[in-house]
Assembly symmetry: C3
């Protein structure tokens, strides 16, 4: 298991961590298998989406903010960040990517994003590789 540290700079922000995950996979020398990218936080997530045009991340974040507004009057959780917990469950705590020849098998436009929903904070991402039989 490898731990990456990610510094976020805004309350809501996607950070492209593809090169860092690819580097872990390359160093592990995994010929064939899977790579799990795991977020150990409950107000953040990881997702796979287009990383060629940064406007995509912007548009997804804007849409999520419309769907899940900050500080809704029905909230009970005292920290005032229930929107971030909702987004964490909607996007999910992990993504799984196929590995072949020590390289991530991603689609042409796909990148792996750390999704901050209650930043800015210093965060961690766990990367675990698994060889296929």
């Amino acid at each position: 298991m490898h731990t990456l540290t990610v510094q976020t700079h805004r309350r809501n922000e996607w950070i492209d961590i593809t090169p860092r995950v690819a580097e872990v996979v390359r160093r592990a020398g995994l010929k064939r298998g899977l790579c799990l990218v795991y977020c150990p936080h409950t107000t953040a997530a990881v997702t796979i989406n287009e990383h060629a045009d940064p406007d995509v991340a912007h548009d997804v974040l804007t849409c999520l903010a419309r769907l899940v507004p900050h500080r809704h009057p029905d909230e009970r959780h005292a920290e005032g960040n229930s929107d971030a917990h909702v987004k964490a469950s909607l996007l999910g705590a992990s993504v799984l990517v196929i590995v072949e020849g020590a390289e991530l098998v991603l689609g042409q436009w796909q990148g792996i994003f750390f999704c901050e929903f209650d930043g800015p904070r210093s965060r961690q991402v766990l990367v675990q590789t698994l060889a296929s039989a």
Copy 2:
């Protein structure tokens, strides 16, 4: 593969199953690897979120009810539970957690929840461990 039975008590409810999944992993004696927690139902899900404060689960469920109302007039599915099917796909049928030393590697505030969206019912959760090479 291990099967857990979960009894739910309300139409919408999150149940913390972390101790039961941890027990399966401990008994399996898995040194390093992954643990898949899988929901075989289409009107329920599993998710990872904060389990320290039960208000978090309450707030997420309240937000999901706002986003996906019960018995929307556009529904065609005759069972009247299409909201539960939507929530099942939004949260997902499984979560994957890293295992080290026969213990789940979860973040400080993370727990694993069974998410009932069309209860009360008796449900099942499948737990499968996978050793890393």
Copy 3:
């Protein structure tokens, strides 16, 4: 790794790929393990939901269209398909299913769907099996 080609026919459409994934698993002869079904596109997804009644897929698609409207005025991404990118992250790029005796272990009503959100297009789905120790 096995690649399936999926031809979609509408902008938003779910296609049941369960028989094709089951065939890959059967041919791989995997006794015990996991099967990853992975979508390498950023305007599509894969999900697990009920495939007995096609009205379920219809209702989920209708609900997603209400939540994430096409061509929202706040969008920046020039391709005009940001709704598809949002749906891709909400549903996720992959599903993971347990395999026993070269068969997928799915719940009674569960099927695996390829979820098109920006079709019609010719798409690919990657299927990777992983043996358990």
